[in-house]
Amino acid sequence: MTFFEKLGSVDRRWIFLFIAVAVTIPLLTGRSAPVIPSPIVQHLFDAIDALPPGSRVLLSLDFGPSTVPENLPMASAVARHCLKKNLALYVITIWATGPPIINTLMNDVIRADFPDKVYGVDYVNLGYKVGNQGVIQALNTDFKGQYTMDAGLGKDLAPQPTSRIAMMKPIGGLRDFQFIVPIGSGFPGVKEWVQFGGDVSGVDVGGGVTAVEAPLLYPYYPQQLSGLMGGLLGAAEYEAALTQAYPEFGESAKVALVRMFPQTVAHLVIVGFVVLGNIAFFAAKRRARKR
């Protein structure tokens, strides 16, 4: 076997090692990647940016710990955007693994970056409801019936009846929101919010999903989805749009932008290995033809 032919049978553990190095070293440098928002993400940003102050936004965090690196930056960027625009933010989840993620959003993003915002007036945590798409269907007509208690803020604020929360008063159903932003990674997720939430209530929906789910949702854009963040790149594009419009978020809202650097290097490493594999393939083919 010639050297070129050997390139076609590299032990997979070398590939794993190269990927590990390709991801680790760029991550340690902490540099951001220069990302330009794509039209589908820019539309989502513009849709939220155009909402007048006081508009109600429902943010649903429908993902688990495994996709936090992709989905949490999306949720954080949207939450920062909404609160910067003085929109009323209602945070829920229909995944059982959602509540700890909501707590992270509340403590590390909302309360940290917006200490002047008041719980129950500017934002509220309504927690988890079991029932998958059944919950979404029920929220169309009986939002308060589903959320008789909020989920509070951990040790700092105990759960209380939603009848005592000012921003819950005008909510009868999903129709009383001006925008719905589901961030998801599987079932139930953005597709269910479009089918059972947005289509039924007539409220605009724009969301974020993992990269592998994004192509499935392109058919819904632009009529049923105002925009879509797909994967880490989508999150980075939204952060880029946010920091361009509001430079004060330049340091806090760059989690996905920083992670794009190792992703870029990893993609190039994969391309390199594919090229090596094809070199080996053509070398073997040429040798076989010579024989």
Partner: protein
């Protein structure tokens, strides 16, 4: 038509209010007029924008033309109240919200809901058969304006959801084609079905495991019995486990759901019974692991690396764990046959497995393996469904292309609009 019911302040107050109103109106006309509100998009993004915060703001004009109608195509219990926005809503920003009041006798009105300014409809939950009358009150910082009373309306349930007539037609067409094909298949004429390479390889895969003395690993997805892919995976399991029983190979089947475990045990037990090998059936070869996606795949990976199955079947609904399973199976040199109806996972299976059943092939597999005429006939009916879909796609593409062209294309526009309504008439379904 403006409502005539307004409060009448006395003398001096009336003069001051009139003066304030004239000043406000003059200021509004002197500014650049805002973009016309799109009443068709009544659920617009109007927010709480009290632009005139002065305490002398006049009460907003009441909304007009309040009508109540039974919500169409529902099970009853809902009346839709509609009205024309107050003239002071968009232009003068004197309206903050609308209060909806309801009465059963035309006298005692009680509030049933509030909507933001800019909205012109409200869905009220009611009791069927009871006639209700409604009033809508525009509310602003300067006071309120009450509309006239609407006519009485009682809600009732309908027996057919008219928004879904298009789906009913399509369902009758497709199901009719399938049932007709099943009937035709039982008439004796053999049904031709193209080869499905993955299913042809089942015998080879089980045979290989038997020769190597290694087990066969079967994963029926990670969803529960309410997912049709899981049911499809279990129907194929019935056929494959019969072969496994005949070859006296060992089956390993970790499951991610308890109900799947129970159903799979019954399926495999019956398969061993019909193969004449009930003694070879081992209940513990089918066992529950965990509902958690990555916990399950971690266990399955461990089993693969330790037990080294010679044949791996992944037939059902999978998510992100599909590539982990397939690559691990590849690393142990197993022959892998996968099938799923999750379009996002198909590329991973195609890249890493020896054979992949793509989408509908998963649902056709049990018919293919059994060679039952009725089941093969149903596959033919599916093909007719595809022909119907292709015809509509072709027709829609041609008509939409002409409808977008220059010149007089009125007919093309109308056909395009009809086709659009045909395909998107139902709210649920999307895409």
């Amino acid at each position: 038509m403006r409502a005539s019911k307004q409060r009448r302040p006395a003398g001096v107050e009336l003069m001051l209010l009139s003066l304030a109103w004239i000043l406000a109106a003059a200021t509004a006309f002197a500014q650049t007029p805002p973009a016309p509100s799109q009443t068709a998009a009544a659920d617009s993004t109007a927010a709480l924008v009290p632009s005139d915060t002065s305490t002398s703001a006049p009460p907003p004009a009441p909304p007009a033309n309040v009508t109540a109608s039974d919500a169409p195509s529902d099970g009853g219990g809902v009346v839709i109240v509609r009205w024309e926005l107050s003239p002071d809503d968009a232009a003068a920003h004197l309206v903050e919200s609308y209060r909806v009041l309801r009465s059963e006798n035309g006298a005692d009105f009680k509030e049933v809901g509030t909507v933001l300014a800019g909205k012109s409809s409200f869905r009220d939950s009611t009791s069927d058969g009871v006639s209700y009358q409604y009033k809508v009150v525009s509310k602003g910082p300067g006071g309120e304006g009450e509309s006239e009373t609407s006519g009485g309306m009682a809600s009732s349930g309908q027996w057919f959801n008219q928004e879904r007539w298009n789906l009913l037609i399509l369902m009758l067409l497709v199901c009719g084609a399938i049932l007709f094909s099943i009937w035709r298949a039982t008439s004796g004429k053999p049904t031709y079905i193209r080869r499905i390479a993955g299913m042809d390889a089942v015998t080879e895969a089980v045979g290989r495991a038997t020769e190597m003395g290694k087990p066969v690993l079967y994963i029926a997805g990670i969803q529960d019995m309410d997912n049709v892919q899981t049911v499809a995976g279990l129907t194929i399991l019935g056929s494959i486990s019969k072969l496994i029983a005949q070859y006296e190979t060992h089956l390993l089947m970790p499951t991610s759901r308890s109900l799947v475990m129970s159903t799979a045990r019954e399926t495999v037990k019956e398969a061993y019974l019909s193969a004449g090998r009930p003694d070879a059936y081992r209940e513990d070869s089918i066992y529950y692991v965990t509902d958690e996606q990555f916990g399950f795949v971690a266990h399955v990976d461990g089993v693969m690396l330790r037990r080294r199955p010679a044949a791996c079947f992944y037939l059902g609904a999978f998510f992100a764990e599909s590539l982990i399973l397939a690559e691990t199976g590849n690393s142990i040199g197993a022959i892998q046959i996968a099938g799923t109806a999750m379009p996002t996972q198909l590329p991973f299976f195609v890249a890493a497995c020896d054979y992949t059943l793509i989408g509908e092939e998963l649902f056709a597999a049990s018919a293919y393996l059994s060679r039952d005429e009725k089941m093969l006939g149903s596959l033919k009916g599916q093909d007719w469904g595809k022909v119907i879909a292709m015809l509509f796609i072709l027709l829609g593409s041609i008509v939409t292309t002409f409808a977008q062209g220059p010149g007089d294309s009125g007919a093309a526009h109308q056909i395009a609009a009809f086709l659009h309504r045909l395909w998107t008439g139902a709210a649920v379904g999307g895409g």
